[in-house]
Every structure is written in structure tokens, then in C-alpha cells.
């Protein structure tokens, strides 16, 4: 019997569904409370200061934004590169991209010193600022992806969806380049100021976005008891392995380049050897747990075929991604600015001193709230609209391949 592809809303009536929704709502409530507290009292209640200017909220925000553009990749592979296997996943891919981006942007905006001035950010543009460009890139990404999903879902517009998908793909590449450039353009700080950061952020987005997609896909199909075939899942996990290895390659090149240039030796020594928490996060979490371990798990002949192992590997990639951004963002700021080469520096403003940072509960709640809002958007959307195929059995995903295997 030939199975056809049918999209259908999830039922969303179970107790588990409402508990999940309530739990996410609670996290979002805590985040909103934190925002009110931070904005009312001022940022003195946070761990951020005039030395560590961007803190945990920015790690969360940038992770979510980077993962958002990466989450769209699954749809792009189907639409732009014509891999029919991925097409049934395109709607969810677009949805997750929108949800993650909204979550990230909310965290970013709500951490501003003046979130009430959002209208100013939308109306006053300094076009030399990559930040200003990013505001346009984020909004454009949301609009393009919504149109893309609409064209996929609306039969009358179906013939245009390839064009929409193509533009969304190009746009997302520019968007992540823009996000990477936020740091790449910072000439002042030793750890940033590298053109390599832009392509590195693009490849990071591939990895983080796909890891998030795999987890959401597995959870959605598992919790709704819909069949998810090995064919598609194994294809995705192999792809994740390629992306994780690519990120690792960029990280190696980034550090080797810095190690070659004498002027960057000190900051490399800091991150790789003497940076305390940052060194630990780099080697143990980013490289060990977040890159090498998931690579080994994903490509292991037996473990690589176990679903819990695939889910664990995807989760590890996400944890490693957070660590990577934490080391880059916070570590890059903790290392003192090199203003007077060859001098020992001291001042009342902590010049020449490695700055320390410990995030407050408010910042943690805000960041987690961003993740919760992204997940809530996904859950509500798949509850009310037809994003998920009723089944992703091998016969539905790719009848020919399934027949051959059978």
C-alpha cells in the first residue's frame, strides 16, 4: 500500500500537553518578572558591569538567533537543493526558525538599557552599524520565512514556494554573516576582530540549528506517538555530524591563526591555558562534550543508531554551542584591553585586570525565558496549523529507498 504525505495538527488534549504548556508559561512568566525587575532597578542587579558589558542574556540571544537561521537549513536542503527526502520537514523547519529568532530577539531587546525605546531602534538607522543592518536582516528573515511557509501550505501559492525558499536561504546566509560580523568588526578587542568569525558563525548556525531541529522533531513525534522512520532521522544525524566537524575545523583554524600572530599570543594563552572557567568551558564543554563526544556518538556503528543516543548527541551539541558562545563573548571581554603593550597597567577602572563575571538569577531567567518562548511558539503553531506530517515512516519519506531496503 502506498502511503501519502498528510500534514495534520497535533491533538493537544493530553495532560502532558497542558503540563508542558504550563511549564513553558511559568518560565516565560519568570522571565518577564526578571525583565521588570532589571528595568525597574537598573542593571546593577545583574552580573554585567562596565567591564563585562554583554553577559548571559547575549549568549542566549545570539545562540537562539544563530540557531534560528540554521534551523531553516532543513527546508533549504529540500527546496533549494532539491532533496525530496527533506521536503516533508520543511514546514517545521521554517516554523522553528521563526520561533528561535523571536525568542532570541526578545531576550536581546529586553536586556537593553531602554527596551521602551524599541521604536527608536526601528526608526533611527545608522547604516554604518552592523547592528542596524541586523535589525533589518532579522525583520526581513521573519517576513521571508512566513511567506515561504505560507506558499508551502497554501495550494494556490504552491508554485511560488521554491522562489520564496531560495530567497529565504540567501537571506539567512547574509543574516548569520551579519551576526558574526557583530564581533568580527570589533577591532578593539583581541579575541574578536577576525573576518573568520562571519563564516564561522554561518557554520555554527548549521550545527546548532540542526541539533535544535532534531530534538524538536524527535520530541514532537515521540510525544504524539507519530511514526518517525530511521531513514530521515539517520540522514539528519549524519548531517549533524558533518556540521559539528565543520565547526570544529573553523575553531581550529581560528585559534591556529591567532597562535601564529605574536600579538594574539597573550589572549590565546588566556583562553586555551590560563583563563580558569573559560579554559575549562573551552576544552571540556565546547571541545570534549560539545564536539568530540557527539561526533563519536553520531558516527559509532551501533550507538549512532540508537535514538536516545542521537537525542543526547544533539543536546550535547547545543550545550557545546552555549559554551562556545560563552567563551567567545564573555571570555573575549574578560581578557583586558591591550592599550599599552609592554607595560603593566593598573587603575581604579580595572585596567589590565582579568574581569570576572557571575550571571545573576535575573539574567538566567531572561535567557531561559527566550528558549521557553521559542518552544511555546512551536507548540502552539503545530497545535493550530498543519506543520507536521502525520507520519514520517520510511515509505512516506522516500518510497524508493524504503523499497530497496525492504
Amino acid at each position: 500500500m502506498k502511503l501519502a504525505l498528510h500534514y495534520r495538527e497535533i491533538e493537544g488534549k493530553s495532560t502532558g500537553f497542558w503540563i508542558l504548556l504550563g511549564g513553558l508559561g511559568l518560565l516565560i512568566g519568570l522571565a518577564m518578572g526578571s525583565v521588570l525587575h532589571m528595568e525597574h532597578a537598573g542593571h546593577h542587579v545583574t552580573g554585567m558591569n562596565n567591564q563585562i558589558v554583554w553577559g548571559l542574556p547575549h549568549v542566549f540571544a545570539i545562540f537562539l538567533i544563530v540557531a534560528a537561521s540554521g534551523a531553516l537549513n532543513v527546508a533549504s536542503i529540500g527546496t533549494v537543493f532539491g532533496r525530496s527526502l527533506y521536503k516533508p520537514l520543511a514546514r517545521l523547519s521554517g516554523l522553528l526558525a521563526i520561533a528561535l529568532l523571536l525568542g532570541g530577539l526578545l531576550v536581546l531587546v529586553l536586556d537593553l538599557g531602554h527596551p521602551d525605546r524599541l521604536i527608536i531602534a526601528m526608526t533611527y538607522y545608522n547604516f554604518k552599524s552592523i547592528f542596524a543592518w541586523n535589525i533589518i536582516l532579522y525583520n526581513g528573515f521573519l517576513v521571508l520565512t512566513i511567506v515561504y511557509i505560507w506558499f508551502m501550505m497554501e495550494r494556490k501559492m504552491n508554485r511560488y514556494y521554491r522562489t520564496a525558499g531560495f530567497f529565504a536561504f540567501i537571506w539567512r546566509l547574509i543574516l548569520t554573516t551579519g551576526t558574526g560580523s557583530i564581533f568580527g568588526f570589533l577591532v578593539a578587542r583581541e579575541a574578536y576582530d577576525a573576518a573568520l568569525l562571519a563564516p564561522m558563525f554561518v557554520i555554527m548556525s548549521f550545527s546548532f540549528g540542526l541539533a535544535a531541529f532534531i530534538l524538536v522533531l524527535m520530541a514532537a513525534y515521540n510525544w504524539t506517538q507519530r511514526p518517525l522512520g530511521d531513514l530521515i532521522l539517520f540522514r539528519l544525524k549524519n548531517l549533524l555530524g558533518v556540521f559539528v566537524a565543520s565547526v570544529l575545523y573553523f575553531v581550529v583554524v581560528y585559534h591556529l591563526t591567532n597562535l601564529y600572530a605574536t600579538e594574539h599570543h597573550a589572549v590565546e594563552r588566556f583562553i586555551l591555558l590560563e583563563g580558569g572557567i573559560f579554559t575549562g568551558l573551552f576544552w571540556i564543554v565546547q571541545i570534549g562534550l560539545g564536539s568530540l563526544l557527539p561526533l563519536a556518538m553520531l558516527y559509532h556503528p551501533t550507538i549512532g543508531k540508537s535514538r536516545p543516543a542521537i537525542a543526547t548527541a544533539a543536546a550535547l551539541v547545543i550545550i557545546g554551542g552555549f559554551a562556545q558562545l560563552y567563551v567567545l563573548l564573555i571570555g573575549g571581554q574578560a581578557y583586558p584591553l591591550e592599550m599599552f603593550p609592554g607595560y603593566e597597567v593598573s587603575s581604579s577602572f580595572f585596567d589590565g585586570v582579568v574581569s570576572s563575571y557571575s550571571p545573576s538569577i535575573w539574567e538566567i531567567a531572561l535567557g531561559v525565558g527566550g528558549v521557553a518562548i521559542a518552544l511555546l511558539i512551536v507548540i502552539i503553531a503545530i497545535r493550530v496549523l498543519r506543520f507536521l506530517p502525520e507520519t514520517l515512516e520510511d515509505e512516506v519519506v522516500d518510497p524508493h529507498a524504503a523499497a530497496k531496503v525492504g
Partner: protein
């Protein structure tokens, strides 16, 4: 049959959307986060003389351990010890417009001290990165923050090679009318723009001269006859992080 199921689904969807919408609406509106009135528009710029480029020259040979320039700035602009309202903030969070930096040469052991503040770069990284244009450079070279359109993103602080800028972490009161400091915005040395526009010198320079240290010179870098230009011509002056080629308005001698 399939219609029935579809209808059921639609009814259930409507109920769900209505419930979810009400809850979400209440959650968004209740805290008032999105309902705040937008701030006033940017005021018209006052015309400044574009022929001038204001600058400060600091002679580190004459600069000792004193901090008269810092105290004068605090008093003039109402920050730090002069206006102890930042008591909620930690020392790492408190604003510093100007600070004394102690330097010791690692190979020779030579010790020197200098004041460090906004360097008023010609191509200021803070101005380049500011998304709204709140960070701006006046035609006469003074770099300022427009507090009306600063959204508090702190990207300028990430971009500044001199750590010259501070973010305000708490509510402030009793500000000076010419230094409107405020929670959630970024601020830095204004080169005492209010005094300069009245034909006076910045408070730090005035204090340094008054105490007879004479380590600081203020003037027009474009005017060949000004004291600062003549001092620079005679003895030269370096920029901190000259490698970045920012063409700073603040120059140092003896670094």
C-alpha cells in the same frame, strides 16, 4: 466523516486560540513593557564651527600621582565621589569618565601615570557601531552620546578600544543640567562641551593648570597658532593604540 473530524478540530482550535490569545494578551499588556510611550525625538543640533578640531595633549612627564583632573571632572559633571548616587552599583558597575592609569614598563621598570578618557577619535568605532546614531561626533571633533536615542545596547562599549564609556546601572538623581546622566544609557567624557561652547577649557585641563602641573593642554588642533598645535609640532605626541589609526583628539607625550 473526514468533514466531521475537521470541524471538531476547528472548534477545538478556536477554543484553544481564544484561551491562548487571552492569556498571552494579558501577559503582554499587564506588565506594561510594550506600552511605554516612545521617547522624544532628537533635538536639532546646534551649529558648531567645522573649521575647528578640539583636542587635548597630555605630557606624562609632568603628570604625577595626583588626580586633580579626575576630581575636577567628577565635580563638574556630577559623577563618582562628587555625586554619590551610584551606591547600588558595584565598583565594576560605577561610571568613570576619566581615570588615572598607572603604567610600569615590563623591561625597563620605568613608571608613569596618565589620565585616560574618551579619546574623541576622528573615526570613532563607537560612532560606527551605534545602531541608532546616538553615538555621534560633532563637526568640531567632540564625540558625544545623544541620551534621547540611546537604547542602551552597549555595542559602543564593546567597540571602544579605550574602555572610555560607562553604562548607568541604576536610577540617578540630582544630575547637572549640562550632564544629563540616566539609567539605561551610555555616557563618557564630553570634553566639557558645555564649557568649550562658552569659550572655556575642559574642567580637567583647568584643574591641572590651576594646580600648576601644566601637564594638559587644550585647544584647536586645526589652528597652527594654538598652544596645543605648537606643542605638538615642537615635541610631538602619540596616540594610544595608534595601530588602529583612529586619529584621536587626545594625544600623549612620553608613552
Amino acid at each position: 466523516m473526514s468533514n466531521d473530524v475537521s470541524n471538531q478540530m476547528n472548534t477545538s482550535r478556536r477554543t484553544f486560540l481564544a484561551k491562548a490569545g487571552t492569556t498571552a494578551g494579558a501577559a503582554v499588556v499587564a506588565p506594561g513593557v510594550f506600552l511605554t510611550t516612545p521617547a522624544a525625538a532628537r533635538p536639532a543640533d546646534e551649529p558648531v564651527d567645522i573649521e575647528r578640531r578640539w583636542g587635548i595633549l597630555i605630557d606624562t612627564a609632568k603628570c604625577d600621582d595626583c588626580s586633580d583632573c579626575v576630581t575636577a571632572c567628577e565635580t563638574e559633571n556630577g559623577w563618582g565621589s562628587a555625586n554619590p548616587v551610584e551606591e547600588e552599583s558595584s565598583p565594576e558597575q560605577q561610571a568613570q569618565w576619566i581615570r588615572k592609569v598607572g603604567l610600569k614598563n615590563k623591561s625597563t621598570g620605568h613608571v608613569l601615570s596618565l589620565p585616560l578618557m574618551c579619546q574623541h577619535c576622528e573615526t570613532a568605532p563607537c560612532v560606527d557601531v551605534c545602531p541608532t546614531g546616538a553615538s555621534f561626533k560633532r563637526a568640531d571633533g567632540i564625540v558625544l552620546v545623544d541620551k534621547h536615542i540611546c537604547i542602551g545596547c552597549r555595542y559602543c562599549m564593546m567597540a571602544c578600544p579605550y574602555k572610555a564609556r560607562s553604562f548607568i546601572h541604576e536610577t540617578l538623581t540630582d544630575q547637572k543640567p549640562w550632564a544629563p546622566r540616566g539609567k539605561g544609557t551610555v555616557e563618557s567624557c564630553t570634553m566639557c562641551v558645555h564649557r568649550v561652547d562658552e569659550g572655556k577649557t575642559p574642567a580637567c585641563v583647568e584643574a591641572c593648570t590651576a594646580e600648576n602641573h601644566n601637564a594638559m593642554f587644550f585647544g584647536d588642533l586645526n589652528d597652527e597658532t594654538s598652544v596645543i598645535s605648537q606643542e605638538l609640532e615642537k615635541h610631538g605626541g602619540e596616540q594610544i593604540r595608534a595601530d588602529l589609526q583612529l586619529n584621536t583628539g587626545v594625544r600623549y607625550r612620553g608613552i
